[in-house]
């Protein structure tokens, strides 16, 4: 079986990023999964074990201090070194900001093709086929690369399949890094410690709030409903622009695309750009005071009403149903 490289992103604390499990799962269906990463010195042993448990058969690890000072240059160098050594048929990266950039740079450096934002990948005879969900899920497109290996950026949270745990063989590599052509990281402020809520990407339930929530203080109502449902919190661009929530919560055309079992839109009008990020949800619920809000055109259950009266009642009703808890 051919090798399939997976770029592993690590958090500033050195832990393995959230997309690793999905990417290794996808890679195991295409060939032999090889995890590739650049990480701070001293992190090798712990990383190798956790990557093995996620299905990596081999781990290609470059330990270098430059991960915290040079923007993505070490990651691309590590991928390029692994590419030369292992001649993979495919390289999978997350469709995250960093994953896309490292993947794109690698594709040019090694002359590979590039397929972006895949929601599924499969091996078919002698080629690899990627599926994409285009224009907010209005179209499904299948594509492949002819004439060489392929870099595929995979949408975070899009695939459920996981690989069997392995005991990974670790290979340490030394990188030859040219800092002159690199952007420098001058300082880094990690996001505040992640809440217990599920990640927006891949969450089974998403509760989103819009400008109708009126203020940052009142936006707490969205979080309360999310917690009652074990859901992730999302938002419209208007809510982000007004400062109710950070940009990472934005759902839509220029934000995150979600496809949960249940999507609840609170005080969101349902502009076409918002719908582009959530209209493939299995069940859509909307609460809005305006009976003509476009969100109702795609809602399975729409309530014309005030979120500040309907939502507390809903939370109360959920609490009663879950009985003892």
């Amino acid at each position: 079986m051919s090798n399939v490289l997976v770029l592993i992103e690590t958090a500033p604390d050195g832990s393995v990023g959230a997309s690793a499990a999905m990417l290794l799962g996808a890679a195991s269906r295409l060939g032999t999964p090889v995890a590739v990463l650049a990480a701070a010195p001293g992190s090798a042993a712990a990383l190798a074990e956790s990557l093995g448990s996620l299905g990596a058969e081999r781990v290609y690890l470059a330990e270098t201090d430059s991960v915290s000072s040079l923007l993505l240059t070490p990651q691309v160098a590590a991928l390029a070194a692994a590419f030369t050594a292992l001649e993979p048929s495919a390289i999978l990266v997350a469709n995250s900001i960093d994953g896309r950039e490292a993947g794109a740079r690698l594709a040019v450096r090694v002359g590979a093709g590039l397929l972006v934002d895949a929601v599924d990948v499969r091996a078919e005879a002698d080629r690899i086929v990627a599926s994409h969900s285009v224009f907010g899920g209005s179209y499904t497109v299948e594509s492949t690369v002819e004439g060489g290996p392929v870099v595929i950026t995979v949408r975070q949270g899009a695939m459920d399949g996981r690989a069997e745990a392995k005991v990974a063989v670790v290979e340490s590599i030394t990188l030859d890094i040219d800092a002159t052509g690199s952007t420098v990281i001058e300082s880094m402020r990690p996001l505040p410690a992640a809440s217990d809520r599920p990640d927006l990407r891949g969450a089974a339930t998403v509760v989103s709030g819009g400008r109708g929530l009126q203020s940052k203080e009142k936006f707490v109502l969205v979080e309360q409903l999310a917690d009652a449902l074990g859901a992730a919190v999302g938002a419209s661009r208007a809510a982000v622009d007004a400062g109710y929530v950070p940009q990472t919560s934005q759902v839509g055309q220029t934000g995150v695309t979600v496809s949960p079992q249940l999507y609840i839109a609170l005080g969101i009008s349902g502009a076409i750009q918002h719908r582009a990020g959530m209209q493939t949800a299995k069940t859509i619920v909307a609460i809005n005071t305006d009976a003509d809000a476009p969100i109702f055109e795609i809602a399975d259950f729409g309530i014309v009403g005030d979120v500040f009266t309907v939502v507390p009642q809903l939370i109360d009703a959920i609490g009663k149903r879950s009985g003892t808890s």
Binding site: V116, V145, V150, I185, R321
Partner: protein, 256 residues
């Protein structure tokens, strides 16, 4: 300083956007073609610098004939000149080829700083700036929420899923900006009049030489299908019990 802004014509996100089911390509008749909002912000970042510094701003696009309207708008906003890469052989070009062509044009044109949008609203690739930077062999500072240009460097704040970092790169460099950067100015009457006299250079693939040729590795669309549109379900008006009714609906669907 010579700043080149990469601008792209896209179907207006306010309209219904369509793909041709045979080719998988954009159906250009589907909705109105406009300059991508994010590229207007990229242009704004260049113009804001030009407002108080000596700088030449060039708008560059690769696109069909209709893209010239969008270049006119860029000129009316304040760009000094425009370059239009126009060649029927480029119809349906993949990201990799588009990047090669744009990189070849940038090399021919010369630049100190290239500013792009972080992600186009039609392709949503979010990779073109990185592909171009790698072809040019210059640093990439992407997804900038703020942009500070100096005579020999570029700095800004960059937010990812992991946190926010301050980054800096020496010029020449390629950067891309997010929708957190300043909203674009509107072209005023004087700008619109002056735009008519500003130069628009048109280059074909032949003008760009071997570096712009398609690579033997290419991406191919195998199939395109349309999802059925969604329709509305139940709609109720709250009479004081809607929260309870919604809980019942969710329970019936095993969602709580």
């Amino acid at each position: 300083m010579k700043i080149v802004v990469l601008v792209k014509q896209v179907p207006d996100t306010w309209g219904a956007r369509r793909l041709n089911l045979d080719t998988g390509w954009l159906d250009r008749g589907g909705s109105e073609a406009v300059i991508d909002e994010i590229d207007e912000r990229a242009l704004e970042a260049a113009l804001a610098y030009q407002d108080s510094n000596d700088a030449e701003v060039v708008a560059l696009t690769m696109g069909p004939d209709s893209a010239k309207d969008m270049l006119r708008k860029s000129l009316a906003m304040g760009a000094d000149s425009a370059v239009h890469i126009l060649d029927s052989r480029l119809a349906g070009a993949d990201l990799a080829w588009t990047a090669r062509v744009i990189a070849a044009a940038l090399t021919k044109l010369g630049y100190d700083l290239v500013i792009a949008g972080n992600e186009s609203t039609d392709g949503r690739g979010g990779v073109l700036p990185a592909l171009v930077a790698e072809h040019l062999g210059v640093p990439l500072a992407s997804y900038l929420d703020s942009v500070a240009i100096t005579a020999d460097s570029i700095a800004g704040e960059r937010s990812t899923e992991l946190g926010t970092m301050s980054v800096r790169a020496p010029l020449p460099a390629v950067i891309s900006v997010t929708e957190r950067t300043a909203e674009a100015r509107f072209p005023n009457f004087k700008g619109i009049l002056r735009a008519k006299k500003k130069p628009v250079t048109v280059w074909s693939l032949d003008d760009l030489g071997a570096d712009a040729a398609a690579s033997p590795v290419r991406s191919v669309v195998l199939a395109t299908s349309e999802r059925p549109a969604r329709s509305a379900g139940t709609q109720i008006v709250d009479d004081g019990t809607a929260g309870v009714e919604l809980a019942e609906f969710l329970a019936a669907r095993h969602l709580i």
